[in-house]
Symmetry: C2
Subunit: 340 residues, 2 copies
């Protein structure tokens, strides 16, 4: 995809997936690259972020966002290069984050775009460790979990874009941090590279016993990304006055009907706080997080890992793979290249 292209390609939802999304649920359409109206900019996509919340957008029923309907372009955050601007704050050649859509080119009101520094962190980082997933971890840990030195914090999906940051933040706060991840390779990375104190493979035959072995003093704070059996095991071990940051329950996103959950009697007896949150409710937190974390990324003290797939047409399979736990690190689709 060069700067002189005239055709835009977009991934459009064809039909709502039944279970795991499949390539056949989407189709690629082509049209002319649009021109910006006043106040808008047109960007050429370099990176497209693939995130678990996207499965929710494919459902007809929504709780906090608009559904993506059949015939509409699939939604997703991108980093791109401005190719045409009718907003005086942007000129062709700028790189920006904030445009959306599984497409090679997006039209976006300038108010939603943030200009990035090509000499700062790698551009992809603004979709992961320095972007929405990083800010999600930041809010969950600082606003809800509030770990104290010596407490035990459990992070599910610990090798993922959110969990990897959440655990490192809890460690910086002085907590003992235990991850839960899928498979030996991820667990090894969570411990050796991220520096978590321990990590449990959620595919273990006796997850509860393994988690208990890693949390001999119980669990004081739990960062929930997955639901299902991991949730059940973690909830069983919660200590009095435990906090639970409810960020997502990816293990059930492909299910048509959600299974029953835990009996909540323990919430009373243990005075547990279970708090749901969505990062976009406080968009100002993303800028705050970027400012705080950029030096940590620059000095290498905040570790992150990216999992890159090639080409816009790979996005549906990438989403399906993420929902099955097959990515390893922040999942990104390379849609184009930064030619500067």
């Amino acid at each position: 995809m060069s700067n002189t292209a005239t055709v835009r390609r977009s991934v459009v939802l064809k039909r709502r997936p039944n279970g795991s999304p499949r390539r056949e649920d989407f189709e690629i359409i082509e049209d002319a690259i649009p021109s910006p109206a006043a106040g808008e900019a047109v960007t050429r996509t370099i990176w497209l972020s693939i995130d678990p919340y996207m499965r929710g957008r494919l459902r007809e029923q929504q709780t906090y966002a608009q559904a993506v309907n059949p015939g509409e372009v699939m939604t997703g955050e991108t980093v791109g290069e401005v190719v045409a601007s009718a907003d005086p704050r942007f000129v062709a050649g700028d790189v920006v984050v904030g445009a959306r859509g599984w497409q090679t080119h997006s039209v976006t009101p300038g108010d939603r775009l943030t200009k990035l520094d090509r000499h700062g962190a790698p551009l992809s980082a603004y979709l992961g460790v320095l972007g929405m997933p990083g800010a999600t971890a930041f809010r969950g840990v600082t606003e809800i979990l509030q770990p104290k030195p010596g407490e035990t914090v459990v992070i599910s999906a610990a090798s993922g874009a959110v969990g990897s940051v959440a655990g490192q933040l809890a460690r910086r706060a002085g907590a003992r941090v235990v991850g839960v991840a899928g498979g030996a390779e991820k667990c090894l990375w969570v411990q050796d590279s991220l520096g978590f104190d321990d990590c449990v493979d959620h595919r273990s035959l006796d997850l509860r016993a393994e988690l208990l072995a890693c949390c001999p003093n119980g669990i004081d704070a739990y960062f929930e990304n997955v639901g299902g059996m991991v949730q059940a095991a973690a909830f069983d071990l919660l200590n009095p006055f435990a906090r639970v940051a409810m960020c997502g329950m990816v293990s059930q996103y492909n299910e048509a009907e959600f299974p029953p959950g835990p009996n909540l009697g323990f919430v009373v007896g243990k005075r547990v706080q279970i708090q749901g949150f969505i990062v976009s409710d406080k968009p100002e937190k993303i800028a705050e997080w970027r400012k705080l974390a950029a030096p940590w990324v620059a000095d290498g003290s905040l570790i992150y890992r990216e999992d890159e797939v090639e080409g816009l047409e790979s996005a549906p399979d990438a989403l399906a793979g993420m929902l099955g736990g097959r990515n390893f690190g922040k999942l990104l689709v390379r849609v184009g290249h930064d030619v500067k």
Copy 2:
């Protein structure tokens, strides 16, 4: 029971109940009225409070308190008259709250006793509206639900000692308050006497539809006393950013195994806060509440209702009745009389 009695009667747990407690699970034993050691006082019980938490104390497994074991006197808060004191702060004839036990006479460290004013509220009120249940409602509403004017607040067990106060506090805060109670008589009282905006009979054939009809704008805050189908119906109607004060789940207290609960996916999407609490974690709140609410009780603006049963030997049946929803208002056992 006169002041010159020499025999003490106590209700002792004989065996752990299987399901609803029965009279046969307890026995009455007699011994001599004890003398106080230094710093203690001996009280003659006037009122014994019967509260839902007591069923939990009969289980072997405890989360925040000590179990009552077979052979031990059953626990419960009382108002009584000091008959002997080895604490200089109390003299025979004082009425106090804070002694515990299903018994005619209790020995208690003076530090746990609070002297009451015979010329203030009726003594029984210090076990209900001005006591632990009232303070429980106060904490749940002011610390967790934090109702705003125009919001919809739902209170389960609305005619009970806690729910009746919680709903009146939410109304004082300007919220629209909907109760859930068992039966037409209780619902009528909740609306006509307590002034709730509406009340749903939890025995309705279609509880969810009835609750929806009373909450056309959804539920912003829910005070949970009961669990089960009422919880399921209320959770279904929670609005974004709803708060849930988890005070108890009395509908399952007699169950050996607790049933599954709600799938918690909605907690994320709706950013719900579910917060458990136990009033005794902040004992100072009881004094704060008494001070705040005493004028409201005196001027009749805070309504309460008591359900009195006669005689210590009635306590086991009273507890069983409460767990089955057969009391109507704060349940009290009259163990003795105030002879002054």
